[in-house]
Symmetry: C2
Subunit: 240 residues, 2 copies
Amino acid sequence: MANSGSEPLVQADNEIRGHLPEPPNDNDLASRLLVSQVASKLRDMIIQDHLKPGTRIRERQLSELLNVSRTPLREAIRILVSERLVHSLPNRGAVVASPNMQEVRQLLEVLGTLEALGGQLAAEFASNERIEEILALHHEMLSAFYRKDKLAYFKLNQAIHKSIVAAGGNGVLVDTHAQLNARLYRIRYISNQRDDRWHEAVAQHEQIADALKARDAARLTTLMRDHIGHTWVKVNSVEA
Amino acid sequence: MANSGSEPLVQADNEIRGHLPEPPNDNDLASRLLVSQVASKLRDMIIQDHLKPGTRIRERQLSELLNVSRTPLREAIRILVSERLVHSLPNRGAVVASPNMQEVRQLLEVLGTLEALGGQLAAEFASNERIEEILALHHEMLSAFYRKDKLAYFKLNQAIHKSIVAAGGNGVLVDTHAQLNARLYRIRYISNQRDDRWHEAVAQHEQIADALKARDAARLTTLMRDHIGHTWVKVNSVEA
DNA sequence: TCGACTCGTTTGGCATACAATTTTTAACGA
DNA sequence: TCGTTAAAAATTGTATGCCAAACGAGTCGA
């Protein structure tokens, strides 16, 4: 371990623009491995925009910053490449991926389908406790909405979607959803900040909560899919 | 390059059990990198059952077998870990993953949803040429069926599903589908060999072909999803 | 029988070396 | 001034050796 003691892997970045919230860290079995830690750190840096899209990743420089050697860093980069969070250019290393509009649309299309499935499964199989937890998150989110606390709203929104998918009990679905979602995290955060259609989204969440409470699988399925469509409108209007 | 000249990365394995067909090799941009080649090789070895589930991957031994050093091999292993084709046990390396019944079911559930989406998109947006290509594959598959050529049938079946998904024009969907499908390739091949329900599957494929030809998106969507259900029955009956 | 210890093997990680390639810099000429 | 070419520097890709920590199989003793 090159990283002795309790000092953090990376110096605190005082110039964070939007101060993106920390994304979810999956408690991997192998997370004690340095590679996993570095991969998580990189993932966070990309997702939180500390490593901006298009940035070329210089191995030595970054390995010094992270206080690890090139070996685990390179292995971590390979992981992110296979997660499509960075691109690999032969002999020119890796650059942080920046999905274009077409790719965002495709991601949302797939995500919508996955969330629809998640909603269906959740309505059918989730325990009552699970559902109540989600409803609790929903009301927290409403609270954030009325407080106009965009950051809290964003985080709770993410948590709700993740929870619904998780409530379906399909681990493969959870993983796949998480991986695709990571590629949109940053762009969603940005579009969330400037969104002037909060009401619509909140209204949709109300319906989602109702359908979940009623365990109306069919309705929840279509609601989840349509809800993603709204996201596309948001993102598209910002980026266009 | 440790692998000079034209000799293959791995000696031909003369003791292949079922002689699984070579899986699709995606022409990655970075495929000239040794890491990518090794990863592909490993993927093939796992998918084709040359590396059996549960096998522990010994780095030095395997690096000698593949004629590469540990460095690219380890990076390749990380890639497969993130693809869930191998598990990583901290300090004990990696073992070839063997999905249990629950995981297979979850994989099929997600795959079914993705293929349903693929079918819908294909029916809506595919070019006529694309559709005709798929129909051609379909008839080839019928031919293999009547010849009782299980291997050809299997390969054509895979090709058809892949083509339908690809015809939708959603690259993210294609990638996601391929990744999940890889985890089922081996188990599907095995169950295909002992399947005594060919007729049902072929009948379903007939319907799928019809729906595609008619560009009936709604019908194709449900057909694709139900078709996967049939796969589950097949796999489950074999494994149970 | 069972627990503690030893020892060999393997992985995880670091450092270094070096060829191939890319990028940067500098020099040059129109 | 601007573009082009050549030399120099930097970076990646791969190999290799090294070492500490972890694990597993025996071994030994109670």
